[in-house]
Point group: C2
Chain length 326, copies 2
């Protein structure tokens, strides 16, 4: 069956996603965006590549979710309100229209969910696997976004949701971890790998309370280390305090390598934020009111270097810090 050309693809699948007047229905060469008075534009770009960040047989809807959400997660961690995105799609030789249709339906669902629209982009071929490149932008009051720098000794470190699910899900998928303990399903872990949940609802709470913040994409320890480096501080993580899902808890109990994955595995797309001790209760309450559970997992201390992970018997040495797609 003949595949549609680039213009037909845009017409059929992408134009319906371009709801903002500034996108000119994708009938032009560039989009415009004018932030509200007193606000500035917050910009983030991140791509995902087949075989590297996703598997060839992942559902195209899920690939669309991942491509968009890894960017929205960064905007949320900075305290920005998401607005829109540009999409550059390089399609492998044997792409199908069905794949595009599924991919576009994933984008449409996320646009509804997160309040963003497509502003532009381009479609071309790729010589190897498919590459999905997203540049997302949001808005925030001028000078208000929360940086990696800003954490101060005495601050409490919080994470949203649970940590380690995506990293463990990837290991289950790759077969590099023991089977799930009897009676425990890996479904939640696999889903967390495939479907990051950017904490967009937390953005205003972050902006109000956090002294430093980022999303956990390189692994909890590695990302805490980013905050430490940029803030000129040290950190401590209480290993027992790190919030785990039931599946992750079962794996950590049965496989000694699972804890390392939890702490360093990456792709959590939860938020790690530091908050002054006096704001900690108010922060947790505001996060809960926004529908996002947050858990204190450690603290900011004087010092430098990556955070120390404290177990029941003292510091835990980890073989590696952080996950990289590189």
């Amino acid at each position: 069956m003949a595949r549609p050309g680039e213009f037909e693809l845009i017409e059929r699948y992408f134009r319906p996603l371009a709801g903002d007047p500034g996108a000119v229905s994708l009938t032009d060469d560039a989009a415009v965006y004018n932030p509200p008075h007193g606000e500035e534009v917050v910009l983030k770009a991140d791509l995902i590549a087949e075989h590297i960040h996703f598997f060839p047989d992942d559902p195209p809807r899920s690939i669309a979710h991942k491509a968009l959400r890894v960017n929205l997660s960064d905007l949320a961690a900075k305290g920005a309100t998401p607005v829109g995105y540009l999409l550059s799609l390089a399609l492998k030789a044997d792409w199908t229209e069905d794949w595009i249709a599924g991919f576009a339906s994933g984008l449409a669902a996320d646009q509804e969910r997160y309040g963003v629209t497509l502003f532009g982009g381009d479609t071309s071929r790729a010589a190897g696997g498919t590459v999905v490149s997203v540049a997302a932008f949001g808005r925030a009051p001028v000078g208000s976004i929360v940086r990696r720098a800003g954490a101060k000794p005495g601050d409490i470190a919080f994470v949203s949701g649970t940590i380690g699910d995506a990293g463990l899900g990837l290991r289950v998928r790759l077969g590099t971890i023991d089977a799930m303990p009897a009676g425990k399903s890996a479904d939640h872990l696999l889903d967390r790998y495939l479907h990051p949940q950017p904490r967009v609802e937390l953005a205003p709470v972050i902006r109000r309370f956090a002294t430093a913040s980022l999303d956990v994409s390189d692994g909890l320890v590695g990302d805490f280390a980013h905050i430490c480096k940029q803030s000129g501080v040290g950190g401590e993580i209480d290993a027992d305090a790190v919030p785990l899902s039931a599946g992750a808890r079962a794996l950590v109990a049965s496989d000694p390598t699972a804890l390392v994955t939890v702490l360093t595995g990456g792709e959590d797309f939860e938020i790690l934020a530091t908050v002054s001790a006096s704001d900690a209760d108010a922060f947790a309450a505001a996060a809960a009111a926004a529908g996002v559970p947050v858990t204190p997992i450690g603290r900011v201390v004087d010092g430098s270097g990556p955070p120390v992970v404290l177990g029941r018997d003292g510091p835990i040495r980890l073989g590696q810090f952080g996950y990289t797609h590189f």
Copy 2:
């Protein structure tokens, strides 16, 4: 020799390119940009992929130029002043540090030349060829950018520079066209394929005079057709009026297929703009004052559909309209 990791690459090669305070020296997860009062942000994303838009043995400096300039060309055609860009780089398995160094030096040279800086992005691996994805942004007074829509019957169609060089250069490189006529070099054509020259200096002139405008990336006829479609008009191109370089002129004289390539070959990255007849002289004078030669090549007429190409003996039928990387 060990290759540097992602963080070292950023530190060594990309951080020096991030000159704007809003980029936070690439030490954070997102950048900010606040357009001047009364201006809005103009956004464009386009990627180039190895084997599709560039050759594996192209110099990395040239690949950097192309990746950035195809985006700056769109901003210029809309009348926007370029500001900055996000870069997402997916590197093939056997990338080298030398390649990165050359690539970054190409970006540095273009930043100086076009007055833009790097605001963010990411680096990862690619399963196939290298993919370079750029999202560029500029600024323009609110509501002032020039669209594809807006051309009116009676308007004069102008192009900047010369047309067809890049398309012919690609054919020379692929060996799908006869050798250059004796005494003529293909160097200029090859250079034009490798090094687009975005007409950034023309942006304010476009904003002041053009009724419609875009950059010629899909081929002159195909891009004029885009203007016709969005403006609800027809068009005419006088084939003899299309400005050619000496090399293109020699090929057109010796090979009957060369004219088709000139008119439909794509990747010119010149500007096609329509201007009211009463503004035509002032437009040409302002463009010349900005250092960019422009040539009238036809006109906007009542009607619809792609523009008619007029030769000495009447309309010329072309086998295809427009070039696509798809």
